[in-house]
Amino acid sequence: MADDPTRQLEERARAARAEFDAAVSAATDAAALQALRDRFVGRKAGLVTALMKDLGQLPAEARKAAGASLNALKQAIEGALEERQAALAAGEREARLQAERVDVTLPGRPIPQGGRHPLTTVREDLEDIFVAMGYEVYDGPEVEDDYHCFEALNMPADHPARDMQDTFYLEGPGGLLLRTHTSATQIRYMVENERPPEVRIICPGKVYRRDDDITHSPMFQQIEGLVVGKGITLGDLKGTIEVFLHRLFGPQYPVRFRHSYFPYTEPSVEADLGCINCGGSGCRICKQTGWLEILGSGMVNPAVFEAVNRRLGRNAYDPEQVTGFAFGLGIDRVAMLRYGIDHIRLLYQSDLRFLEQFPR
């Protein structure tokens, strides 16, 4: 039976299979795989191809089963070759990706990094809060006259309150001056207002005082608010300022009102905010009081309406009919509180070491 052609064929097929199985896992590149393909299933010299050619020598009754067996062998070999090829390709792709690895901790290619001034950021935040509350942002001139800056604000010449606002004057006639407060702008608006007595404005801008020491800058920035109409009350002032301060600093801080004095408002109240640094327990920022003085305000003094009416030559803001409130705060102060800036003069020194700390 040893020379039984069927058995011989089976032996040769088994040997081919064993040889292939050993060789395929050793093939590590496309050329080796091609060589295996040629040796086992190649059309000319493949071992399995040769076995299939020899099928004809078998007895007819054995031919069918042996053929099926050889076909299965050929398919297994071709499948194994494809599988191996895919594995090799995956390995190569993986190696290529590994070779393309970058150091993700290296810095990126920088895009330009400038920035807006912190006072700009704060001013725009303030503007946005008030615009959302129905205010118009109104911008007045920085050079003013005595009427707008003092007289119409119930501060006639020799008024003691003028001592607190030492004023820069321009050379030449006309008594022109640099405005000492943005309150001057509320007068300008009321005079120019096309729809008196209705007013709801804020006026941000630069103001100037003849102070130059460690805690003062001769130029700084304020924002003034003015609301005028029929039936405007001190309650409206309180509510508006509470809403505003809570939007600006957060609702967690208490707001305190206390009476004060400004010549152009009566009654006058100052608003204090629970210290955002210490939470009210007392610290250097709030001078151990737990409160930050943040804003001056009050009900528009009828004398202010009367001064505007005199200039207009008509009773556009009748103090018997019309009331209003005004408030003012320092933009610098808000910025210094928000960012923890300890010296006002840093704001105006154009030092990049300072400016670069404020991303836009």
Partner: protein, 680 residues
């Protein structure tokens, strides 16, 4: 105003501790500025606003305390046991200037000068007043207590036995208590002896010659009401500010004159310092109380809450106001110590203060119109965002600059009459110069090389009619040093004109305005004459740009060159065109590159204009992509490479058309002396 709580308690029952009292009075308008323990006592320091001189004394603070807690106010004892001959036998008083002094009063005291008792010295020292002798200390004590300054003259040292209030004559002289010999002017009010000799600067400071000394036996004690404005001007004319002038300037209590004299006299007897001659000698009259019509409803309307009628009355009566009538309209008489109250709104404020802002419910007024940021403000925001995004940092510099430093900026400038220093004696006529250059200088001194700054703000230009200066809103830019973004790409050269121009044109384009024209002539003199331009939009000059002149840069001791520009914002805002969508091209474009060697004098703008003119309307787009000057071209010449794009919205261009357009351009360039090196 410092007040020991023990002193306050003499005149009002304080139902709370000192800290609470401080907080409560802060709410009614007397802000606590400090609190200090002195032995068993607590000294409260109140920051009294300028209108409330009536609270610059213990009784005034006690009155506010009394109203705050609903307690009665006790007045200091001022009954006087008089003895001897009437005062009027040894002293007369007169007023020569009623506009200076409406009321003048005096008493005559016989005293033995010595040290004050310990309790009095301690109380004065607790509030920061130096003890001198018993009589001077008493005048200070009673001033702190009642608010009325008074002055003691040594009656036997007066050149004549009378006192009169008058204006000084220019050239008169007076040696004041501080030892200064002062030349007087018509602004100064005087207490003079009846023979005319100046004795004291009225309401401000006494004179040295009539000063009380250890041997003084007979005292003329004066207490007058001095006109606030007169006192203010007089004190200012000598740069003086005293406890007395502080009070008179703000309006003292005319009726307190007599009370203070009585109170001092009472204490002189009580403390065994001496005796009091009968009578007060006076001149003039205490001004009558003012009357105001008050409508409680006005307060209620203004506060937005109904204050009970009894509360209106309680507060006003407690503060010393007389209240008559009822219903809707009250007659209110104003106490003499409340010179700040002159109209109904002042009365409203008094009721509001003590009713308490905390009792007013918070409301918000309904918005009548939508809120609005004006176009120019929105535009300025956009400018800031764009420049910050382009790598520049915003600065805000002082509007005051040295006029000498900005001489080259404008012929006419706005100068300050009272500058703080020469460094800031004018308003800036330019935002960029010298402001941004000084900012660069500061940063370079700190070792910083790459500096890119911008500022948006006003430049101040004199008005032609001499009126209010024009405030022109501008944007200014400065670039200097290596571009910090270029490091990765290896480009390390410093800022130059091209970087500046790129920033300016990019900014203008992003703002939606048409590209400005860059003209080589007409830039300011502080710029490099060969690297600067005047910028135009249509016919209007809108700014300038260029490298800082090397001589100017040397003057600022700059390490790196700087390029700066300044543009008016208003014309850019006005020139913005509405964006309109253009249909996407249906037909392909044809691109060609052109290398041209330009002779000296032919600018890039001229080159582009020649090419566009010759090539016709199918040339849609011209871009400069490379520039070369060096050994490959003749000296003074420059080789420019342009990328040209041809298209037609209605059809596909055929090769011949582009070729003909190019040939026309090449011929026109040749006619202008420019040689085309290649077309691709």
């Amino acid at each position: 105003m410092k007040a020991p709580i023990s002193w306050l308690r003499e005149y009002v029952d304080v139902p709370v501790e000192a800290e609470q009292l401080g907080q409560d009075l802060t709410k009614v308008g007397l802000e606590l500025g400090g609190l200090e323990r002195v032995g068993d006592d607590v000294v409260l320091d109140f920051e009294v606003t300028t209108n409330r001189v009536d609270c610059m004394n213990v009784v005034g603070l006690a009155r506010e305390t009394a109203v705050r807690y609903g307690k009665p106010l006790r007045r200091p004892a001022a009954d006087v046991a008089e003895s001897g001959a009437p005062a009027s036998e040894v002293l007369s008083v007169a007023i020569d200037a009623p506009d200076l002094c409406p009321y003048f009063a005096a008493r005559v005291l016989e005293v033995k000068i010595g040290p004050s008792p310990d309790w009095l010295r301690a109380r004065l020292e607790a509030v920061g007043v130096r003890a001198i002798n018993n009589l001077v200390d008493l005048t200070n004590y009673v001033m702190l207590e009642t608010g009325q300054p008074s002055h003691a003259f040594d009656l036997e040292r007066l050149p004549a036995p009378g006192l009169r209030a008058r204006w000084a004559k220019p050239g008169e002289k007076l040696r004041t208590l501080d030892g200064v010999e002062r030349e007087l002017s018509a602004k100064n009010g005087l207490v003079a002896a009846s023979d005319g000799t100046p004795l004291a600067l009225a309401g401000v400071m006494g004179g040295g010659d009539s000063e009380v000394h250890d041997g003084t036996r007979l005292i003329a004690l004066e207490a007058a009401y001095w006109n606030p404005l007169a006192t203010r001007r007089s004190a200012r004319s000598h740069s003086l500010h005293t406890e007395a002038s502080h009070r008179f300037e703000r309006g003292a209590d005319p009726a307190a004159t007599r009370f203070a004299l009585d109170r001092i006299a009472h204490l002189v007897v009580k403390l065994g310092i001496g005796s009091v001659r009968p009578g007060i000698v006076t001149a003039g009259a205490i001004p009558a109380a003012r009357h105001v019509v008050y409508h409680p409803q006005r307060t209620n309307r203004l506060l937005g809450v109904r204050v009970p009628e009894g509360e209106h009355r309680r507060v006003l009566v407690g503060l010393g106001f007389g209240v008559e009538g009822g219903g809707g309209s009250w007659g209110v008489s104003v106490p003499t110590w409340r010179g700040d109250v002159g109209s109904e709104i002042d009365v409203v404020e008094e009721v509001a203060r003590h009713f308490g802002v905390d009792n007013v419910p918070a409301t918000t007024p309904p918005a009548s119109r939508p809120g609005r940021l004006r176009d120019d403000a929105r535009f300025a925001r956009r400018v800031r965002e764009l420049l910050a995004g382009a790598g520049l940092h915003e600065v805000i510099s002082l509007s005051m600059v040295s006029d000498a430093a900005q001489r080259g900026v404008a012929d006419a400038r706005v100068r300050l009459a009272n500058p703080l220093s020469e460094e800031g004696d004018a308003l800036r006529a330019s935002v960029a110069f010298p402001g941004l250059v000084q900012a660069l200088q500061l940063n370079q001194r700190q070792g910083r090389r790459d500096v890119r700054l911008f500022e948006v703000g006003a430049a101040f230009l004199p008005a032609a009619d001499g009126g209010r200066p024009r405030e022109v809103r501008r944007v200014a830019l400065l670039v200097s040093g290596p571009d910090p973004q270029a490091r990765w790409s290896g480009r390390r050269e410093g800022a130059d004109f091209a970087e500046l121009k790129g920033l300016v044109d990019g900014l203008v384009e992003s703002l939606g305005a048409p590209a400005p024209t860059w003209e080589a002539e007409g830039a300011p003199g502080f710029l490099h004459p060969g690297q600067s331009a005047r910028l135009r939009l249509g016919d209007a000059a809108i700014g300038w740009a260029g490298a800082l002149h090397p001589d100017v840069a040397a003057g600022f001791d700059l390490r790196d060159a700087a390029c700066l520009a300044e543009l008016d914002l208003a014309p850019l805002l006005a020139a913005r065109a509405a964006v309109r969508f253009a249909p996407l091209p249906k037909f392909p474009a044809v691109s060609r590159d052109l290398s041209v060697v330009c002779p000296p004098g032919l600018s890039a703008a001229g080159l582009e204009s020649i090419i566009r003119g010759a090539a016709g309307p199918t040339l849609r787009h011209v871009a400069f992509v490379d520039r070369y000057a060096g050994p490959q071209v003749k000296a003074g010449h420059v080789s420019l490479t342009l990328s040209l794009r041809f298209s037609d919205p209605d059809r596909t261009l055929v090769g011949d058309e582009v070729q003909r357009a190019l040939e026309a351009a090449v011929q026109a360039l040749a006619a202008a002396g420019a040689e085309v090196r290649g077309v691709a």
